[in-house]
Amino acid sequence: MGMQFNETQMTEFKRLVARYPEGKQKSALLPALHLAQESFDGWLSTETMDYIASLLSIEPIEVYEVASFYSMYNLKPVGKFVFEVCQTGPCMVSGSDNIIDYIKQTLDIKPGETTKDGVFTLKLVECLGACGYAPMMQVGKIYKEHLTKEKVDVIIAEYRQLAASKN
């Protein structure tokens, strides 16, 4: 209990709501959920969603409906870094299958799973709009493009280090 935005997050939340006309505060739901996901460990718990519902004066079910519709909201806990690898047509013809296999093998997890140390989650996603720079994946806000096995190694090492420094 007691999940709440801190002052900075609250200021941001208010800025989001202010974009819409009065009484249309529900429009801020998607950005508010993004903010909540970033603020509370990268996923949306029921408690978080209920909190957002109360902030926007809407019913909790309205939040659950929306949160479960969009693929970017995690409704279950995830690792510190989520590798979202694109597997759609243009990436597939550019060799995304090999990259996916390589990540699976290197991290020893299947798509949808998190590594035992809780650092990485692997997700297979559909087209991310980087077809010209395929194969590619998204990590947080960043796109990692033109992937090769060597590049994947570098990325994994980089994030391992980041995770270690955070602890």
Binding site: S27, L29, F69, G89, P90, M92, C127, C131
Partner: protein, 450 residues
């Protein structure tokens, strides 16, 4: 070299910032529009330009603007559709990432023409770093008097807000986008009423693609008539093409729609030929939902004429032997690509992105995916190919929104043009797991009846 109207300044260092953009002649179109023109004359210029919506449907933009209802006392809204999600398409991302002020300039002019005081950019959630770029640009524009209250002393107020989606292809459909912008599930609305009458918060709304709005800037600068002289026929102006797949130089190109498909693929100015010196097998010329064409039908029409990169030529021959310009996502497949597998990934994509509201799309997309998977794994039967054909036929045209069509067309075209590759998978279950059907006859010159 073709004419460049949108990306002509893309390589100027620092063009992303207001100062450089302004120094390079930016915001002069806003000055012209707001000071010398009025909303009616702006709509008139856009109509004259022949500009067609660049999101995929190709609907004339000026016409769309003229449909907006103007009831007394009800605010109107312009919404910029930046939910670019069609596989193969990444041109809007390029525009927003490198030329944010060009989009803003187009947005201010369009907002003025439509009377929108609060304009929204709905951007796909995965482009998570671009809202920061856009908001930075908005702040710069505001600081310099191009946004906010009483712009240029004309009494026109306008604010632009950026909203991120959260992972749903369907929100590229304009009514689903509006639903999403209202904080709901991205379920497309049943039309009519159209957004021009009841859109965002049931107010009159126009939804335009990023590239469409950016194109308003050169139209205002040069005038609609001059703009219409570029290009050919009803394909006026320039078009951004995002090229990807097995080519040497993937990327975003601006074309004036007089370039041939062959030149586009092989010339150094554009794609630079097929990667690794391989042969061209097939191409999806307008984003993954448009019909795939084998090499021979791509480069030449069924009549044996050269095919060009424009709306009319790409759709020459209808769906039987042609395709569509769509959103300009140009996906090239070389001789090593398996059409069945490619179609399977697209079917999976559309199943994943179906909102689930109407039954043909919700149930049919998953069914097609399962059958394609069966064929791809060498477990298919001949009757499965006919079944696939029948399923796509029953989805197409029978759904609430065009996603049903978008899911059907790739399957239909793959069977239409590559049926023997499907049959090969059925007849050679073991072989199909280890080797590839290859190029076969798909690049052979087509027989043109005299």
């Amino acid at each position: 070299m073709g004419v460049k109207l949108l990306l002509d300044k893309a390589n100027v260092p620092g063009i992303r910032t207001y100062d450089v953009y302004r120094r390079e002649g930016g915001y002069t179109a806003v000055e012209k529009a707001l000071k010398e023109m009025n909303p009616e004359t702006i709509v008139e210029e856009v109509k004259k330009s022949g500009l067609r919506g660049r999101g995929g449907a190709g609907f004339p933009a000026g016409m769309k603007w003229s449909f907006i209802a103007k009831p007394e006392g009800v605010p109107r809204h312009l919404v910029c559709n930046a939910d670019e999600s069609e596989p193969g398409t990444f041109k809007d991302r390029y525009l927003m990432e490198f030329l944010p002020h060009l989009l803003l300039e187009g947005l201010i002019i369009a907002s003025f023409a439509l009377g929108s005081h609060d304009t929204y950019i709905y951007i796909r959630g995965e482009y998570a770093w671009i809202p920061d770029i856009l908001e930075e640009a908005i702040n710069e524009a505001k600081a310099n008097g191009w946004l906010g209250k009483n712009i240029l002393g004309t009494g026109f107020d306008c604010n632009i807000h950026v909203q991120r989606g959260a992972g749903a292809y369907i929100c590229g459909e304009e009514t689903a986008l509006i639903e999403s912008l209202e904080g709901r599930r991205g379920n497309p609305r049943i039309k009519p009423p159209f957004p021009a009458i009841q859109g965002l918060w049931m107010r009159p709304t126009v939804v335009n693609n990023v590239e469409t709005l950016a194109a308003v800037v050169p139209i205002i600068k040069m005038g609609g008539d001059e703009y219409a002289k570029i290009g050919v026929g009803k394909s006026t102006g320039t078009k951004l093409i995002s090229a990807c797949g097995n080519i040497n130089k993937p990327g975003v190109y601006e074309i004036d729609m007089t370039v041939s498909v062959e030149d586009f693929i092989y010339s150094e100015e554009y794609c630079g030929g097929i990667k690794g010196g391989k042969q061209l097998k097939a191409c999806i010329p307008g984003g993954s939902s448009v019909p795939i064409l084998p090499a021979n039908l791509l480069l030449k029409t069924a009549k044996g004429e050269t095919r060009y990169m424009n709306y009319e030529s790409l759709s020459d021959g209808g769906f039987a032997t042609g395709s569509m310009m769509g959103s300009g996502g140009f996906i090239v497949l070389d001789e090593d690509q398996c059409i069945v597998k490619n179609t399977l990934t697209l079917a999976r994509f559309y199943r994943h992105e179906s909102c689930g509201q109407c039954s043909p799309c919700r149930e049919g997309t998953g069914w097609m995916e399962k059958i394609l998977m069966k064929i791809e794994q060498g477990k298919g039967e001949m009757s499965d190919i006919d079944l696939l054909w029948d399923i796509q036929r029953k989805i197409e045209g029978n759904t609430i929104c065009p996603l049903g069509d978008a899911a059907s067309w790739p399957v239909a075209a793959a069977i239409r043009h590559f049926r023997d590759e499907f049959e090969w998978h059925v007849n050679n279950p073991e072989l199909s797991q280890t080797s590839n059907f290859g190029l076969q006859h798909y690049a052979d010159p087509i027989h043109v009846p005299a």
